[in-house]
């Protein structure tokens, strides 16, 4: 079910409009090729709401935009009136006439033109060399007109045009004149041509003109939404609904915003969009940047920083190619969801073969993390990958534990996360539960029922951690993620030892799948073991390292089990009846957890923390949890819908300077963002952990404290509740990533960023002043950042800082004055530059040094540490 099928309806949301106009400054490499193209509609449409921007900007039609701020709310709506793109491949010269056609639609049909109609009729006008009267006759003959207006008298028809266009009845003089012409059958006088004349007769700047502008604005918004696939134009049935909304638009700006919001908020529970404000354009708190332009790029940059492994040169332009803001983001999210998953296991196996190493060795863990890097840097399905990494920090396994002997199994486990990252949480939970890597890590593998007469009893490890960490957490939560408290203000535990024991009994009877050469079901619980991947694979089978665990019923405790109880509990009474077989019991147990009311807020809050902010407001958690509960189609646990709700929430677009907004970047993600921002390259095209060669041990863990599937325990690299001492704790806030901000690691990271940005030589350089690959042996893997776009700015610190700020923050003005001062001083330390007769090598060294020192300071700055 997608947004396209929504219907138009009234709603009660009110917006005020405070529009701002401006043009986006040129971005590096992005010349404005369309600036001379007048876009009359775009400009006129919002002119009722604009103020104070000079005409040269206003006529920069493609880049013009307005914003509407929601009254009494932090939400600000951004409009980019980009008709060129909104209308797709229409002949560009026909753009001149779109506004005229739109006016005709409003006057004659009383509704916005649909994109197809606008394009068609503006082309016709173009063919007629701009003479609208030549097409008026045909424009007026339609089934829609007959159906909707065929029963009206001539006088009513003329009056209706006044109402639709100007919101008022015709004056008697005009009415008599036009009715007379209409009934005279004189050539050139049709209802459509009368509409045209009424339009032409409106004086510029009059009250009527303002009203028309507002109606055009509404019409234009609708057209863009249709073009963006958020709404469909469903023909006549919708036409009268649209018409009635349009009729509410007056010269009052509030009436416009009200009408616009009504087409997006229809109360249709059959639609995932309704849960949060999907605005017709970006909802952002960023406001305007230092030059007075709406910070569209900054907003987009933040969005991609939250949803990918880092913003590459060109990513923002690509994202905004067909519009801006929430519409563009939403389209991007949907496109991402359709991309095939990039999986790692096959790539790991290929690399093992290429290097000729055995599959079970410790170095394969290195290959696994190398492949992870490769995928993070190059895969197109960035949203899925970013979600998978977030999920890998909730459903934690680690090669620092029992899976250490099976690197391929760890890769396959990660693939399980990738495969389900935008799927359903319940499916993911089951796949994770039955994966042998999890079986080994949390010892459900080999778990067996108790033996009568002995003290042997089932293993409680998975029972406990799957509740505490993977589903419901320790204490009862409200849907907004806050704790439910008892009368004394104490938390209420979600489970006790009795439930742990029941789940432990439920999770009995699972062990390795049978060996590849054996008939399924022929293996013995007490003998079956993990297979060497090479052997199994080369002999035509598939290793049980990558097969879900198998069930051995004889070892399953099939007595009755009392699981969790809660309102609407499943199974009935929270009871697994005696005699239920193991696989069915497991499904019932996972359902028992899945439908527990804690799951939506518990999982949603953690995903928000991984993607957007450490301290989401209760409202934010609630909105996402609501989506977790029901994606609009009655589906619980839709992770794509959850990701979308997280990334499109107004709170993901914070106000500048918001103290608690955002989060500290995960150390590994900060490195990837750096690599991607500067177009990181290696000589051999591979992206590997060897890039960390200097000065650490070639292992992201030793430099960053973080590496995929290498956390020290099932409690991940940091706790979602971690709060460092000082003001963060005093304010009752958390900052999980601060748990890794250890002096020892920060020192390593200062070194790493210094080597990466200052000291690492240019590819193929023999320059001795830049200490080359001093630390490194495998130069082919050595990662180089591309600073070439900035070298020419070495002599202009301000230009350089603006450009670097754009690259790393999406906006030229995101560096603090203190940081700018520091950069300027460090650049100055290299002097004003070589003498005019210096050779080009000397000049380049001077340039490189100044640029690289600037980059270094930004990369290690507190500003860049925060997302």
């Amino acid at each position: 079910m997608n947004a396209a099928s929504r219907r138009i309806n009234k709603n009660t949301r009110f917006f005020c409009s405070q529009a701002t106009w401006g043009s986006r400054r040129s971005r590096p490499g992005g010349q404005d090729h369309t600036g001379n193209m007048p876009n009359a509609l775009a400009l006129e449409a919002a002119s009722a709401a604009h103020d104070g921007i000079d005409d040269s900007d206003r006529h920069n039609g493609d880049r013009a935009r307005a914003s509407l701020k929601q009254c009494g709310s932090q939400i600000i709506l951004f409009f980019v009136l980009s008709m060129l793109s909104a209308l797709g491949p229409a002949p560009s010269l026909a753009q001149d006439f779109i506004e005229d056609v739109q006016k005709m639609y409003i006057a004659y049909y009383g509704r916005p033109g649909d994109p197809g109609g606008l394009t068609f009729w503006s082309s016709k006008i173009r063919e007629a060399n701009g003479d609208l009267t030549l097409i008026a006759e045909n424009f007026g003959n339609s089934k829609e007109f007959t159906d909707r207006f065929g029963s009206l008298s001539d006088s009513e028809l003329v009056d209706n045009i006044y109402l639709q266009l100007l919101g008022r009845s015709a004056d008697p003089e005009g009415l008599n004149f036009y009715v007379g012409k209409l009934q005279s059958n004189e050539p050139g006088w049709s209802l459509a041509s009368i509409a045209l004349r009424i339009i032409d007769g409106v004086p510029r700047g009059s009250a009527d003109d303002s009203l028309i502008d507002n109606r055009l604005e509404f019409a234009g918004t609708f057209v863009r939404a249709v073009s963006d696939g958020l709404l469909t134009y469903e023909g006549d049935e919708q036409a009268s609904a649209l018409s009635s909304i349009l009729s509410t638009v007056t010269m009052d700006p509030d009436s416009l915003t009200n009408a616009i919001s009504s087409i997006y908020n229809d109360g249709d529970s059959d639609n995932v969009v309704d849960v949060y404000d999907l605005c017709p354009s970006t909802s952002t708190g960023i406001g305007v940047d230092s030059t007075g332009c709406p910070a569209v790029a900054l907003d987009a940059f933040r969005f991609l920083s939250q949803s990918t492994y880092g913003v590459r040169p060109g990513d923002i332009d690509a994202l905004l190619r067909n519009g801006t803001g929430q519409l563009a983001y939403d389209r991007w999210l949907k496109e991402q969801a359709k991309l095939p998953p990039t999986l790692s296991l096959k790539l790991v196996i290929d690399e093992i073969r290429r290097q000729g190493v055995a599959s079970a060795t410790a170095e394969v863990h290195g290959i696994r993390t190398d492949v992870w890097m490769q995928i993070a840097m190059t895969a197109e399905d960035q949203l899925r990958q970013r979600m998978a990494f977030a999920l890998s920090q909730i459903f934690v396994i680690s090669d620092q534990g029992a899976p250490s002997k099976y690197p391929l199994m760890v890769a396959d486990f990660y693939d399980t996360l990738i495969a389900h990252a935008l799927g359903n949480y319940r499916d993911l939970f089951e796949a994770v539960t039955l994966h042998p890597a999890m079986g080994l890590y949390l010892s459900m593998m080999g778990n067996r029922k108790s033996l009568p007469g002995t003290t042997l009893r089932p293993d409680e490890n998975y029972a406990r951690e799957s509740m505490q960490l993977f589903s419901i957490g320790l204490s009862l939560l409200n849907q907004d993620g806050t704790r439910v408290e008892d009368a004394t203000g104490a938390e209420i535990p979600t489970y006790g030892q009795a439930e742990v024991s029941s789940f432990a009994r439920t999770f009995t009877g699972w062990n390795w799948a049978c060996w590849w050469y054996a008939t399924e079901g022929s293996c013995n619980f007490e003998e079956v073991s993990g297979e060497n991947y090479d052997g199994a694979d080369q002999n035509g089978g598939t290793s049980n390292q990558v097969k879900p665990m198998a069930h051995y019923e004889n070892y399953h405790d099939s007595d009755e089990k009392q699981l969790l109880t809660y309102s609407g509990v499943t199974p009935i009474g929270g009871v697994i009846p005696a005699g239920t077989d193991g696989p069915r019991a497991l499904g019932m147990a996972l359902d028992n957890l899945f439908y527990h009311p804690n799951v939506p807020p518990f999982i949603s809050r953690q995903l928000i923390q991984r993607l957007v902010t450490s301290n989401p407001s209760p409202g934010y958690v609630q909105r996402v949890a609501d989506m977790f509960k029901d994606d609009g189609t009655g589906v619980r646990g839709n992770l794509f819908a959850v990701a979308r709700a997280i990334l499109l929430d107004p709170e993901a677009r914070p106000q500048p300077g918001a103290e608690k907004a955002g989060k500290l970047k995960e150390p590994l993600l900060k490195v990837l963002q750096t690599w991607r921002a500067f177009n990181g390259r290696t000589a051999n095209g591979r992206f590997t952990t060897q890039a960390f060669c200097c000065p650490g041990a070639g292992d992201p863990r030793s430099v960053l404290g973080q590496s995929p599937n290498q956390s020290p325990s099932v409690f991940n690299f940091y706790s979602p509740f971690y709060s460092p001492g000082g003001e963060i704790a005093q304010q009752g806030l958390v900052s999980p990533e601060m748990q890794l901000a250890l002096e020892s690691l920060l020192g390593q990271q200062l070194s790493y960023y210094a080597v990466q940005s200052i000291w690492r030589s240019r590819p193929n350089s023999s320059d001795e002043l830049l200490p080359d690959d001093k630390f490194h042996s495998g130069a082919g893997d050595l990662l180089h950042l591309d600073f070439s776009p900035y070298i020419d700015m070495a002599g202009e610190p301000d230009a350089l800082m603006n450009a670097l700020s754009e690259t790393l923050f999406g906006d030229s003005d995101q560096l603090s004055p203190q940081l700018r001062d520091g950069i300027r001083r460090l650049m100055d330390a290299y002097g004003p530059g070589p003498s005019p007769d210096a050779d080009s090598e000397q000049v380049e060294i001077w340039q490189q040094r100044r640029v690289r020192e600037a980059v270094f300071l930004i990369l290690v700055s507190p500003e860049f540490a925060v997302q």
């Binding site: 620092q400 029992a402 010892s443 002995t454 003290t455 042997l456 009893r457 293993d459 409680e460 490890n461 406990r464 320790l474 204490s475 104490a490 535990p493 030892q497 742990v500 432990a504 450490s614 300077g657 608690k660 955002g662 989060k663 000065p695 020290p712 325990s713 409690f715 709060s723 460092p724 001492g725 000082g726 003001e727 963060i728 704790a729 304010q731 900052s735 601060m738 748990q739 901000a741 250890l742 002096e743 020892s744 920060l746 020192g747 200062l750 070194s751 200052i758 200490p771 603090s816 203190q818 520091g822 001083r825 330390a829 290299y830 020192e853 300071l857 290690v860 507190p862 540490a865 925060v866």
Partner: protein, 447 residues
């Protein structure tokens, strides 16, 4: 208050007059929950038999150690009536330390808010008897051990609150009183005390920002940038800047100190760098060796070992962990004696919880009461403090699955350590807030 200022000047407060003597506490945290019952095993026949029965001696799923393999120790006092006990065979390194009086054992200790019997535990919900929240959960019980609060708001650790009282014990510009190796630690985080975290390498490496002709300019500019981060709007940016400021401030003195520290025979320089407990304790020993040069009179260290969550393969994995633990402790005690500072340094263990007595097939699960070691020249060793429970299901302090209620609270344990460190009695409640609920305030294992 300037935002973030607390991060930058944790040592600006003077609480106590400068102290002439030197004392140092070293916490060895055993992450995952050490299996106590196989660390120290009942040895007298009746008690051993109960253990063997409960742990399935001879069964494929059994967890019991063979009696003949055990390392018996004798107690001058303490322990159950007439019962004797023995160390895990892989703790051979600790046997002479115990026998020579430098090691004490507290067999049953854990988080308790007030004295608790089995009946009180069972009826707690009805009677309102106060129990630590989220018993048996790793992170909560780690926090509980380290913070000693009621588990709901563990923002500071007992050691951190303790060293908050000792800011004047060490010179400004030297190292912080509290240092951890490798990981952040709640135990040594105070209201004002922000611990310094050393790397595993122990080399005192300086960041490579010091290279090149412009190194001093670059270094100064970095300091300026991190210092001014207190003016940033983002609370995360301020915290991050503060952490980097500490990094710059301390790595230099740390690097200089570690590089000029002497070779200590028991923890020799030729031991390769690594994350092992022995390497962590080598860094600690080197800083203790340099205490006079640094001007330190009080120090609190936190080192740790992971891997004790032995749900699986307990019989193969746990002995190896104990081997590492015992060897490292022995080496550290040797190093302290070589530095002639043994009377001033006390090492103690802590862990999430003890484990279940019963087997889950291949290991044990999360429990409550556990055993801890205290080692050093001031320890009243060759003794067990408090009783070792009878290892039977349904015995006096057993509450199901072979989980036992602790005999002593972690508050009593910590208060004993803090008292030795020099904390006056009237300040103990701020460090061990539950102490007042227990009649015994000092377990007397330190002289």
């Amino acid at each position: 208050m300037a935002a973030g200022s607390t991060s930058f000047s944790p040592y600006a407060y003077a609480q106590m007059p400068a102290l002439a003597d030197y004392k140092s506490l070293v916490c060895v945290f055993l992450y995952g929950g050490n299996d106590s019952w196989n660390t120290l095993v009942p040895y007298s026949q009746a008690e051993y038999s109960a253990y063997a029965r409960s742990r399935g001696l001879g069964e494929t799923w059994g967890l019991a150690l063979e009696r003949s393999q055990l390392l018996p120790i004798t107690s001058d006092a303490g322990g159950s009536d007439g019962a004797t006990y023995a160390l895990n065979p892989n703790l051979r390194a600790l046997q002479p330390l115990y026998d020579s009086g430098r090691l004490a054992i507290i067999p049953s200790v854990g988080p308790l808010l007030e004295p608790t019997t089995k009946e009180q535990y069972v009826d707690a919900k009805r009677t309102g008897h106060r129990l630590p929240v989220q018993l048996f959960s790793h992170n909560n019980q780690q926090d509980q051990w380290q913070s000693l609060n009621d588990g709901t708001d563990g923002r500071t650790g007992w050691g951190g609150r303790m060293v908050d009282q000792y800011e004047s014990a060490n010179p400004v510009g030297s190292l912080p009183t509290a240092l951890a190796v490798g990981t952040q630690s709640l135990l040594i985080t105070g209201n004002r005390s922000v611990p310094l975290v050393l790397g595993y390498s122990g080399e005192g490496e300086l960041p490579l920002i010091t290279w090149g002709a412009k190194s001093s300019v670059r270094g100064q500019i970095l300091k300026d940038i991190f210092t001014s981060s207190s003016e940033l709007s983002s609370i995360y940016g301020r915290a991050y800047g503060g952490a980097n400021m500490r990094t710059l401030r301390y790595t230099e003195v740390l690097g200089r100190t570690l590089q000029s520290a002497p070779n200590i025979p028991s923890l020799p320089d030729f031991l390769p760098a690594g994350a092992g407990l022995k390497q962590q304790l080598r860094s600690v020993a080197k800083l203790i060796a340099m205490r006079e040069q640094l001007g330190m009179t009080r120090q609190l260290f936190f080192v740790s070992m992971g891997g004790f969550d032995n749900h699986d393969a307990l019989m193969t994995d746990h002995p190896l962990l104990l081997q590492q633990l015992g060897d490292a402790m022995q080496s550290f005690q040797g190093a302290m004696e070589e530095l002639d500072v043994a009377k001033s340094v006390t090492l103690f263990t802590s862990s999430d919880f003890g484990r279940t007595l019963t087997s889950n097939g291949d290991g044990s699960d999360h429990g409550w009461a556990g055993l801890q070691f205290v080692m050093g020249g001031s320890v009243r060793g060759r003794r067990m403090y408090g009783s070792y429970p009878i290892l039977e299901l349904d015995s006096e302090s057993e509450i199901g699955s072979g989980i036992f209620i602790p005999g002593f609270s972690a508050d009593q344990y910590a208060a004993t350590l803090a008292r030795w460190f020099g904390v006056p009695n009237d300040l103990l409640p701020s460090i061990a807030p539950n102490l007042e609920n227990f009649s015994v305030r000092n377990l007397e294992f330190l002289a």
